[in-house]
Symmetry: C2
Subunit: 148 residues, 2 copies
DNA sequence: GTCGTTGCAAAGCGTTTGCAACTAT
DNA sequence: ATAGTTGCAAACGCTTTGCAACGAC
């Protein structure tokens, strides 16, 4: 229930030395990609990053971008997210609800309408942002799987 | 621990008559696909549904499944979700945070750590489900865009 | 010079589309 | 008989992979 993770500032220098410590090399392409990654706020969508990098550096092959992203994941600079990969369609009749899916056992559950409403309020209280909860999935661990 | 879902029952019969009302036809393939859609709880991932249908009915072409899903969307049986399409990677150093993205203007915002923590608590209170908020994006409308 | 890295091209996967054959009505 | 539907094959966009050339060290 804690979320006090210290956020070590990750600068190019640190990443590059981690890279070298593992016997990897710094190439102009990697420099550009790392730069783009650090500049990105929030999430990183591979295709978009690939395009962004290519805009700055004429000819970086997409495969290089993909390979570098996965290298950065190995180095611990990036993490892969399965969270938002998912559903494409949902039943039109279903009311706003928040779907909970256990990442380990795959069990699905929903917040009650009341709980969903409170969640909505909580978010709305932040600068009046109105979330679209018409369909919403949150990944995590169910009680049973946490115990294991 | 179940929540009260008041899911207006959408049965095959209703869907089929809507279908016909629009001048569409009922084929064995569509029957199978509709059956699978109704059986699905929660979200529907096209590829998975396609495979599920093919398991039951030897030779349904994937394109038929895709076309039927989009037809069902036209009929209002399904809705398309853009919500969870997105990010693949996120910075490993970033703290748990909840990302808010305005669907209209694209502005990004984050809940404060405190707000994120309360959101986590709220979800945790439901059957002890521990959400993974390490990276999380919620779509909706920012205050400015609601006004427009 | 070594060996990690790159670009290229080909292949993979999910999805879309054109078209001729089929079939529910 | 008349459209709406289907399967097939081709095409598409994103991603991965094998391989030879390249270049950081």
């Amino acid at each position: 229930m804690q979320c006090s993770k210290i956020d070590p500032v990750q600068d190019t220098a640190t990443i590059v030395s981690d890279l070298r410590a593992r016997g990897h090399r710094l190439t102009p392409q990697r420099e550009a990609i790392i730069g783009a990654v650090l500049k990105a706020k929030g999430h990183i969508v591979p295709v978009e990053l690939a395009r962004a990098v290519q805009r700055r550096m004429s000819a970086v092959n997409p495969s290089t971008v993909y390979r570098t992203l996965s290298l950065l994941e190995d180095l611990g600079v990036l993490k892969h997210s399965h969270l938002e990969h998912g559903p494409e369609y949902y039943r039109a009749t279903s009311q706003d609800h928040v779907h909970l899916r256990c990442a380990r056992c795959g069990t699905d559950d929903d917040l009650s309408l009341d709980e969903a409403e409170r969640l909505k309020q909580l978010i709305y209280a932040h600068a009046g942002f109105l979330p679209d909860l018409s369909h919403f999935a949150i990944s995590g661990l169910c009680a049973a799987c946490q115990a294991r």
